[in-house]
């Protein structure tokens, strides 16, 4: 079980090694499940980081934030500005994005954590919607509003210019000569994911992590036991905001464009779905949830009506039409319907998410073996 139960050094090292191997070989095994191309793998890593970080707040402390996409947006804009003003090197972009989203998380968290439960969720939602609307209106000089913030060829880029780095064609992230596109873009994200996973593991196995779970378990007892829960919650909030900022920066690093739509409440909701689907409060579950959602989104949203007609063409024509009519709301743009149904099934039958399913399955297999 992934909680702060005493876990051996050996077991942790082993899971970390397996994790690293799986992440680094993703381009190989991805082919077998139809995910062997860099765009999708980048999404896995980026949303995986977002969810792993979100889980440190929601999974450990139980505080449900409905506004974490705002940090995704802040990370994206910061990275884009780092690209525009300083350099196309992703390292400063990542550092600035993480720092700035951390600062914003501290401010938003400070206010939101004055309340608990549903009121906390509403406050975070309000902040995120505020950010989203500001990005579209008064902050247009920073965000470029509806068009989105693009990195252009003739941006100042003082560091690059000073060092004589030339940009040919449209600018892309450039890690000391390696262009952040395709698989090299994925590997940059993958390394961030590995670091993020390792940090999350440290949190889970630390006294700090145990105290976060204790806050979720019984906040009253924590207070009468001598703890001030507020700074713990704020620290968890800031850490998860920084993960979101990192994820936002990575989005820009692999595709230098920052739009306000990634701050919308649906994006905040999506990370909640990923976390719950994978397994709230488990170390690896949120990443699995993110991968599953992005994987199926990729499959379902690509299907269009003519594709469906082709699929059901073995049926008589009238039956084919009926089948297409029934299935079509669930694919293409309607993929969220499928996601909704999937989510309901998980919540009703498997509240612990995919990780609980795996646990039950292994327990069943053990029983069968005697």
């Amino acid at each position: 079980m992934d909680s702060v139960n005493p876990s051996s050094k050996y077991k942790d090292t082993l899971s970390l090694i397996i994790f690293i191997v799986v992440v680094l070989t993703a381009p190989l095994w991805g082919k077998f499940i139809g995910a062997g191309y860099p765009d999708l793998l980048q999404k896995f890593a980026i949303f995986g980081l977002f969810a792993i970080g979100y889980n440190i707040l929601f999974g450990l402390t139980g505080y449900l934030s409905f506004g974490h996409a705002v940090f995704l947006g802040i990370g994206s804009y910061t990275a884009a500005w780092s690209f525009k003003l300083l350099t196309m090197n992703p390292v400063p972009a990542v550092i600035f994005a993480v720092l700035l989203s951390g600062i914003f998380a501290a401010a938003i968290g400070y206010v939101s954590l004055k309340r608990t439960g549903i009121y906390f969720a509403i406050l975070t939602l309000a902040f995120a919607q505020m950010g989203y609307n500001l990005a579209y209106s008064v902050l247009t000089p920073i965000t470029n509003g509806e068009t989105g913030l693009r990195v252009l060829r003739d941006d100042p880029r003082v560091l690059d210019n000073a060092l004589g780095v030339q940009i040919d064609g449209s600018p892309v992230g450039n890690f000391f000569g390696i262009e952040m596109t395709g698989y090299s873009g994925y590997y940059f994200c993958a390394i961030m994911l590995i670091l993020g996973f390792y940090l999350a593991m440290r949190v889970f196995r630390s006294p700090f992590g145990m105290k976060l779970i204790a806050i979720k378990s019984n906040q009253t007892r924590m207070e009468y036991t001598g703890y001030n829960p507020r700074p713990y919650l704020l620290a968890a909030f800031v850490i998860s905001g920084m993960y979101a900022g990192l994820a936002g920066a990575l989005m820009v690093i692999v595709d230098p464009l920052a739009g306000a739509e990634r701050m919308q409440w649906t994006a905040s909701g999506e990370v909640v779905l990923m976390t719950i689907l994978g397994g709230v409060g488990t170390l690896i579950g949120p990443l699995i949830g993110a991968v599953v959602i992005k994987y199926f989104e990729n499959i379902f949203s690509a299907i269009n009506e003519s594709g469906l007609h082709a699929t059901f063409s073995f049926l008589p024509e009238w039956l084919e039409n009926i089948a297409v009519t029934i299935v079509s709301p669930f694919v293409g743009d309607g993929w969220h319907m499928t996601l909704g149904v999937l989510f309901m099934i998980v919540i009703i039958f498997m509240p612990g998410g995919i990780m609980e399913a795996i646990r039950r399955l292994t327990a069943w297999v053990k029983r069968m073996r005697g």
Partner: protein, 255 residues
């Protein structure tokens, strides 16, 4: 001597709506003693303890502990850090965590204070803390189940777990709200033995209890509370014979 008192409650009043829950409570608890508060249901016993840990703020009066007025804007965690631990009437534990973690958490609070950003430490390297926690679990007869979820314990066991959680903090003042309620006789006797043992270590305790067997085995001093006021106090022998006490609380009960 004034110095000998650990806790001094003076002139504490608390009203809920029109109900006078506590009226002019004055109570002093001597260093190293066990002070029992008895009285019928609704007499205000738990309310009085609540005012000591900032769960409730009294309308007037002061509660002095370690040179501080506990009613003067103190936070619950601040009071605990001063050295006051409480066992609640309904056990307050961490149901999702193992028994071992339940006991380690208060020990960490005692060692590291109200907040410590110990993210880069391994919990599994806290061997000394774990040993200490196991020691207290063993004292309470819970060592065998140290790795099970606390939520799956029986009510009596939860209470004993909570006791271990308080004792590991070595509090200067331990507040016990019916520590043996819901326990079988065997466990009650065990708890009495344990509390006697702690007493020899010099820990000051306030205990609320209905079980007179427990009260008279442990208490050095007894205050009787009825309808929010102290109607009698003194040594156990004085209380046994006190006519007002018999009338208000003990009734025809055999002592």
């Amino acid at each position: 001597m004034e110095d000998n008192y650990v806790l001094e409650i003076s002139g504490v009043n608390k009203t809920f709506g029109g109900l006078k829950a506590l009226s002019d409570i004055n109570l002093k608890v001597k260093q190293g003693t066990t002070h029992a508060i008895i009285g019928p249901n609704g007499a205000g016993k738990s309310t009085l303890l609540n005012t000591c840990i900032a769960k409730l703020v009294p309308d007037s009066g002061s509660i002095m502990f370690a040179g501080q007025d506990l009613t003067d804007g103190m936070t619950p965690h601040g009071i605990n850090q001063l050295g006051v631990s409480r066992v609640f009437q309904t056990p307050e534990i961490f149901p999702e965590l193992s028994l071992l973690n339940n006991v380690m958490i208060p020990a960490l609070a005692k060692r590291d204070g109200a907040f410590k950003f110990d993210l880069f430490k391994w919990l599994r390297n806290e061997n000394q803390l774990q040993d200490e926690a196991m020691h207290y679990l063993d004292d309470l007869g819970l060592a065998d189940s140290s790795d099970i979820r606390a939520g799956s314990l029986s009510r009596g066991d939860k209470r004993r777990l909570e006791m271990a959680m308080c004792l590991i903090q070595h509090p200067k003042l331990l507040l016990l709200d019916e520590p043996t309620a819901g326990m079988a006789r065997h466990d009650t006797n065990r708890t009495i033995e344990l509390l006697k043992k702690i007493k020899e270590g010099g820990m000051t305790k306030i205990i609320i209890e209905h079980d007179m067997h427990v009260v008279f085995s442990l208490a050095d001093h007894i205050s009787v509370l009825a309808q929010g006021a102290i109607i009698a106090e003194g040594k156990p022998d004085d209380i046994k014979g006190h006519p007002k006490v018999r009338e208000a609380y003990l009734g025809t009960a055999e002592l």
